[in-house]
């Protein structure tokens, strides 16, 4: 009988090979799926994984990877600190929405003033602050009342979604929008737009912030006391308390940090690529980022790569729909499979499979 045995140290070899193994398995199983749907599996796999990066129109789709991966990275980096320390914020979707609403509200409040030097920074601050405050609600409830933050943060996603609908139909609705729901288009207002910094690259302020977050997270985790405390609290809460880490403060910092980054991601999205507050503004980045954080093993560089991989399957999936006529559902299924395999083979990093001779001992 097969049995799992915990490795004393995570395996170096498997750390790097499991993602590749998972992608390889997904290609095989996904290929079978595509073949069953009557498409050439090799072509389908190449369209999804290769064409966005090296295909004929890669000059367009490659930068788009960053646009799609940017918010995922930013949110997942924030979440990873909490996840390492045992603080489970799964309401990033809500914090993303609130950040966007707050940031957009600031921008719209100043409309039609043109002082970009003042308005845009204020919007960014509002985005950070909005997301942070929304995340601090479950954080505060946990430290004060011992309430489970997984559940509270999830509940607050629904509340945020209702607020978003209310704002799109009421307070923030574009007075010149012919009565349709949704705010003015912030990306068309000079003072509040989140510009594409280098034309044709998709690089906007949100992507810049995402990369800065990756670098800071890397430094914090590997060189800074905060990162050490976070890791310690996750591995051994008792040891952490013994070495002087204040667990309540750590919870608040982790929640606040992840909320702030999620809120910022929302602000950059609403002021840039998306442009307006609308009922369907949120498209699940907050939830996808949770998966990204785990796929990246909570490591900044891993998260960077995982976010790009997710973005690749989205964009490659669209191209496959366009050129091969694959149904959208098949792409969704394929993504689900990829995630399953990535999560499944990860076991090899921390455990080894041994042949158990007998159960008794």
């Amino acid at each position: 009988m097969l049995r799992l045995e915990k490795r004393p140290q995570p395996s170096q070899v498997w750390t790097y090979t499991t993602p590749l193994l998972a992608v390889a398995i997904t290609m095989v199983v996904g290929g079978i799926l595509f073949a069953a749907l009557g498409k050439d599996p090799l072509v389908a796999i190449r369209t999804i994984f290769w064409d966005p990066m090296f295909g004929q129109f890669a000059s367009y789709s490659l930068p788009q990877l960053l646009v799609k991966a940017g918010p995922l990275m930013l949110i997942a980096i924030g979440l990873s600190f909490g996840f390492r320390a045992g603080v489970w914020n799964i309401g990033a979707e809500g914090q993303y929405i609130i950040g966007a609403i707050c940031g957009a509200a600031v921008g719209l409040a100043f409309y039609p003033m043109e002082a970009r030097w003042l308005i845009f920074p204020l919007m960014i601050i509002a985005g950070f602050a909005g997301g942070m405050l929304w995340a601090l609600i479950p954080g505060f409830l946990r430290v004060r009342f011992g309430t489970n933050e997984i559940l509270v943060s999830l509940m607050l996603v629904y509340v945020a979604e209702q607020l978003l609908a209310s704002m799109s139909l009421g307070l923030l609705r574009n007075p010149e929008g012919m009565g349709f729901p949704g705010s003015r288009n912030l990306s068309q207002i000079t003072s509040s737009q989140n510009l594409e910094l280098i034309s044709g690259t998709g690089m906007h302020w949100g992507v810049v912030f995402a990369f800065i977050a990756v670098i800071f997270a890397y430094i914090a985790l590997s060189r800074h006391m905060f990162g050490f405390n976070v890791r310690l609290a996750g591995q051994s809460p008792k040891a952490a308390a013994f070495s002087g880490v204040n667990p309540k403060r750590l919870v608040l910092i982790c929640m606040g940090l992840s909320g702030a980054l999620a809120g910022a991601a929302g602000l950059f999205e609403v002021a840039g690529p998306s442009g307006q507050v609308s009922i369907d503004f949120n498209v699940g980045y907050g939830f996808t980022a949770i998966i990204v954080a785990f796929l990246g093993r909570l490591h900044p560089v891993g998260i960077l790569l995982a976010a790009l991989l997710m973005a690749l399957t989205y964009i490659g999936g669209e191209i496959a729909q366009l050129t091969l006529g694959l149904p959208g559902a098949a792409i969704q299924l394929f993504q689900g499979m990829l995630l399953f395999f990535l999560l499944a083979v990860d076991v090899l990093t921390n455990y080894r499979i041994v042949l158990a001779k007998s159960e008794a001992a």
Binding site: M155, Q162, L295, M337
Partner: protein, 304 residues
């Protein structure tokens, strides 16, 4: 505005029907969470159940067979989650989210070609005598059988958790899996069974939408009901009795706000819609201090 147009008897009666899908899904998830497992993939299992139930009922002409297969379909999908989280020790939150994505895609693929078809008729079950009782009769005793199946499952889960030895073991596993393991219980097998039960119930809930409530197949038709079910479990603080209350509250808010609208009352719909979630948070705070199952969401690995 005219409140007299709201008939409280009919309101309560329709509330029972409206709450049934989320009640079914929630009671399954309750068992899963009492076993210490957090499966966020309820929406994915519901929609899979919805499509399996519809396809089978359509081909066989039997809604009952459809419900059975919906339960099987939901349970089948949940076993994927079980294998990943219990055998391969993957993170439950991430795996649950992936399960939802997978379920939505899978159901849409299965359901291709079933658009615009009516499900076979599933008649109401006008219980003789009881159905004729004034007031109570129309509220409680004139529904389709699945409403009662849902209530039966809730009662059975309540009795199971409270009185049976197996229920005790399940709770022990959920509170402290290491201790339960030390006592010689097979944590993994118990959790597999709980997860499969949760999947089956979610599947039934989904099929109730596709076979009774709508009754038709359209992609994404559960429209977030699975997420509401998750909230109800928390609201109920993992107790089957309160779960019933929670399901009626969450379902009731929708029915009530539609009623108030129809009566001509201008109400802020969004704020009314978010109120059950806020109520859930308040409930969590009041009865907090860790009434959630002790091992909820934690990975179990028997090191010995």
């Amino acid at each position: 505005m005219d409140f007299s147009s709201i008939n409280p008897i009919l309101l309560l009666a329709s509330l029972m029907v409206a709450s049934t899908p989320i009640l079914l899904a929630a009671i399954g998830e309750l068992v899963v969470e009492r076993a210490g497992v957090l499966n966020l993939g309820v929406e994915g299992m519901m929609i899979t159940g919805a499509v399996c139930g519809f396809v089978v009922a359509y081909h066989s002409g039997s809604p009952w067979l459809g419900f059975v297969c919906a339960a099987l379909g939901g349970a089948g999908l949940s076993l994927l989650f079980a294998v990943l989280t219990q055998l391969l020790l993957s993170n439950q939150v991430a795996t649950g989210l992936a399960l939802t994505l997978f379920g939505l895609g899978l159901s849409a693929l299965i359901g291709q070609g079933y658009n615009g078809i009516k499900a076979p008729n599933f008649p109401d079950w006008d219980i003789p005598l009881l159905g004729d009782i004034p007031v109570i009769g129309p509220i409680v005793f004139q529904h389709d059988p699945m409403v009662y199946v849902g209530l039966l499952i809730v009662a059975a889960v309540w009795a199971f958790l409270k009185y049976s030895r197996a229920g005790l073991i399940l709770r022990a596993v959920g509170e402290n899996h290491d201790a339960a393991h030390a006592l010689g219980y097979n944590v993994i097998v118990i959790r597999f069974l709980a997860i499969a039960f949760g999947g089956a119930c979610a599947g039934l809930g989904g099929a109730y939408i596709s076979l009774v409530r709508v009754p038709q197949w359209t992609e994404g038709m559960t429209a977030g009901a699975g997420w509401i079910a998750l909230a109800i479990v928390v609201f109920a603080s993992w107790k089957p009795g309160r779960l019933l209350l929670g399901a009626y509250l969450f379902g009731g808010v929708t029915v009530l706000q539609l009623n108030l609208q129809a009566a001509g009352l201008a109400i802020p719909v969004e704020y009314l819609s978010m109120s059950p979630y806020l109520a859930t948070i308040i409930v969590l705070v009041i009865m907090s201090a860790g009434r959630a199952p002790g091992s909820l969401g934690k990975i179990f690995h028997a090191s010995r």
